[in-house]
Structure formats: C-alpha cells, structure tokens
Symmetry: C2
Subunit: 248 residues, 2 copies
DNA sequence: CGTCATTTTGATTGGCGTCAAAAGGTGTGG
DNA sequence: CCACACCTTTTGACGCCAATCAAAATGACG
C-alpha cells in the first residue's frame, strides 16, 4: 500500500532552494533571501497516482501547480462527452494559469503516471511577486510562453497534415525530454494513441497508422509505448516548411 | 495625404480616465489617482491605415498595444509562405502578450481597417502594476483570458467540422460586437474569406460554400462582407454539442 | 488465467481540398 | 466619370486524405 511508510511525508516538505528543476520552473535568478520567501509560500507538495486529478474544470481556482516529477495531460470535455487534450506536461511546468481569468479552472489536469506537484497559492504568489520584481517578470514570461505554445498548436491544427503533426509531436516530446536530461531518441510515451490523437486533432487509427508508416520508412522504431527515433532529420524535414519563419 | 491637418494629433493624447473602453480594457476598478498614473505611462496613441502593421514577428518587444478603434488580425507565417491567422481583434483588446516570453514579437499584427491604438510600454506597465495591485491582477487576468481563448480555438480546430467552425465564428463575432454596443445580427466582416479560412483551418472555398449553405437554409443572409443573422438558435444548435461543458 | 482495454491493420466512405472558370466588386489612371 | 485591370468570391467537378466501420492481435490487470 502506498502510504505505509510516512517517513517520506517529511521529505516532501519542498524547497525551491535545492530543487533540481530551478532552471525550468519558477525561481530563476532569485537570490538566497528571495528563495526563502518563495519556499515559505509554497505548500507542501502533493503526490498523485496515475489517473488522479490535479484539478478539474469548474473547480474554484486557488492555486497554480508546478510539476516536480511525473507527467500530466490537460483536457477539456464537450457536452456530448468527447474530450480534447489541450496539452501534455512534464516536470518543471506550471499548470492552472487558464484559471486566473475567471477564478475557475478551465480544464482538467490528470496525472498520466504517479506524480508529485508543488502547490502555489495564487494570491500569495501575487503579493510575493510585488516584492520580488524578477519573480513578477518571470511569471509574465511563463504565461506568455503558454500563449506562444498554444498558438503554435493552433498552427499545427490549422495547417498541418497527419504525418506532419505526428512528426512535430515526436520532436517536441524528444526535445523536452532532452531538456530534462533524459534520452532524446529513446523514450516511453505516457499517453495512449487516443490521447495523442485528441491532442493532434486526429483519430487514434490515424495515429497508429502514421507511426507504422514512420517505422516502415526506418525513421523510428515503435514498440507499443516505447519509441526510438532513428532519423530525426527526416522528421524535421517533414515539418521544415510548416514551422513559422524566424524572420529578421 | 493623411497627415495634412495636425490638429487631431493634439486630440490624440489619450486618457484612460475618460475612455469609453474602460470596462473592456485595462483600467478596471482603478481609482482617480491610479488612473492618472496609468495615463502618464500610456504613450500617445497611434493611427494606422488599413493594411499597416502594428508590429511584426521578430521585432523587439517593447510594448503592448490596446486597440482604441478599428480591427486587427494577428498571424504567423511559415517558411514556405503560408500564413496562419491566429486571431481577429477589436476595440478594447490588448495585443502583443505573446512577445513577453522571448522579448520578441511572435506574430504580425495588421490593421484590417483604419485604426487607433494605445501603446503601453511594458517595463513601465510592469513597475506600475507593482504599485497598483489591482492593475497587476487585471494583467494576469488578461493574459489568462488569452490562454483560455487560444485553448477554445484549439478545441475548434481539433474537434469541429466546417459548418460548426463557421457557426462558432459568426456567433463569436456577433457577441463581441454586441458587447461593444453594435448590432449583434447585422454586421460587416472586415476580413476576407481567405483570412476567415486561415483562422478556422479551412480553405476559402469551403468558407464560401458553407456561408452559402447557411443562407440557403435561411439562417443568415450573406451579401459579400455584409452578414445578417436571422436564426442564431440554429447556429447555436449546430455547436451545442461541441462547446465545453460548464461543469459543476 | 480470463476479461477487458488498447493497438494494429484492412476496407470503405465522406468531407474537404484542389483545380478550374465565371461573375462580381474594387481601385486606379486616364 | 468611365474604362480597364486585378482581386475576391462563388460555384462546379473531381480526387485524396483521414474518418469510419470492422475485426483480429496483443497487452494489461484483476
């Protein structure tokens, strides 16, 4: 049973000061003192098992959540039951920012593997960020990055074909894993074909077929959720025309 | 020639204090004093003629822009020349927030009719928002709203069929016009069929065909850019299944 | 070990893209 | 103000990509 030894609960008292995710998460460029203030605001982290909700659409918004370990999906569900996955999220990423506008969470956040998150009470973060300008700026940057991310997904959903979407998806996962020190070309997908399809605006059969096609061409190896990238150049070629020009 | 009478330049000195857009734009819930501070930060507004750029992708990010009057599109262009419209924007809306993350504008913003914008130098807004908590909170809310907006477009692009997308688009334009005191069911589209298509992930022929179909069914009247909505209920029916459940 | 969920693969369908042409509108210069 | 060129829009015919329907294979989990 999961909670038989409570010893780790003590270890769970989090501290940004010695968190290995510092460069990915909030506390970029803060000094010792400011880090201590941040630590004081962050609630003891929370463990979630696979399938558990971090928050649900419609719940009152009180906190942002930073992923310490694990993997999440965020999704919205329509009235007729279909769900649209709006993102997959890994360690160091901040979830819940869409809840600020209406004080209500706008999507569900669900753990795709056993995970651990830090809770950041928003009003306290807000007042803290008034005292620490670089924290305030960093917050704006994170929200802006989310806007940029969403817009690049709009571009993907609006312009790209099935194989281009899959290629962009695989390369995106790969580079984010690499940023976190994992292997870039050999990884386990935490989500189902259906969830990938929902995210990419495709049906699960199309996802499966396209992965098989990539494998037949020798670009990747697919063994269920275990993916190996052999020829990332070919994948990059596929999407080279669709990505936005880094003009000027 | 456009600038032959400079008299209006004087009139252009903007003031949030007496701006009719207050409820739509930034200064919500500020007192007299705070409004004065805000006015001091906002640069004299700028006039743009149809087709002019407010900013371009790749330009250094220095300011956000609030639309006083007029109509804009934002778009990203891919390396092979195709463009994806990421949004249409009307008075009271704030543009440029995607530039905060990388200090570089991430899209083009182009006037679709003669327009007037207020420039908000970002660093000054940032420091001002430290002094005025409600301004800071409002800023977070605006950025969060942009995230919510983008995600609902992701849902549209990922799940909906052509006619559902068009219906959602028409109803969205209609409600935003109504919010600004214009007629909700009788309006002129400022953008071309191709721009609508780009925004909705459709080709211009499909947009045209679908509008014709709606007209044949008696739901709307299409006279080029002049649109009249006769049966909004039918349009709402069309998308009733796809919109996200307002749970709880 | 049996049941259920997930994934793969095939056959078929349908919606939207593509190509094409004509009509209508817009803007410019004479 | 008109004539002309150009652009936008509409409509039709056709083709293709991905959805749908279906069934078998494989894996996951109690």
């Amino acid at each position: 049973m999961p909670e038989q030894n409570n010893s780790h609960l003590h270890a769970l008292k989090v501290s940004c000061s010695n968190c290995t995710l510092r460069e990915l998460c909030l506390p970029v460029g803060l000094n010792r003192d400011e880090l201590a203030q941040l630590d004081a605001v962050i609630r003891q982290s929370r463990r979630l098992k696979r399938g558990e909700y971090m928050f649900r659409s419609g719940e009152a918004f009180k906190s942002l959540f930073a992923i310490r370990t694990g993997f999440f999906k965020t999704c919205m569900s329509s009235q007729d039951g279909r769900e649209q996955v709006t993102g997959f999220h890994m360690s160091g990423e901040l979830l819940g920012m869409d809840g600020i506008s209406a004080n209500v969470h706008g999507c569900d956040a669900i753990a795709l593997e056993d995970s651990e998150v830090c809770e950041l009470p928003f009003t306290r973060m807000q007042s803290l960020s008034r005292d620490i300008p670089s924290l305030q700026h960093h917050f704006y940057r994170l929200m802006s990055r989310e806007i940029v991310r969403d817009q690049s997904i709009m571009l993907l959903l609006g312009n790209m074909k099935a194989d281009e979407r899959l290629a962009a998806f695989l390369l995106n996962v790969s580079s984010r894993l690499a940023t976190r020190g994992f292997a870039a070309n050999d990884f386990i997908l935490r989500m189902s074909r259906e969830e990938i399809g929902s995210f990419l605006g495709l049906k699960l059969e199309t996802v499966s077929r396209t992965l098989s096609k990539f494998q037949q061409q020798g670009w990747i190896k697919v063994d269920h959720k275990h993916i190996q990238l052999y020829q990332t150049d070919e994948l990059k070629n596929l999407i080279s025309g669709c990505i936005h020009a880094q003009s000027h």
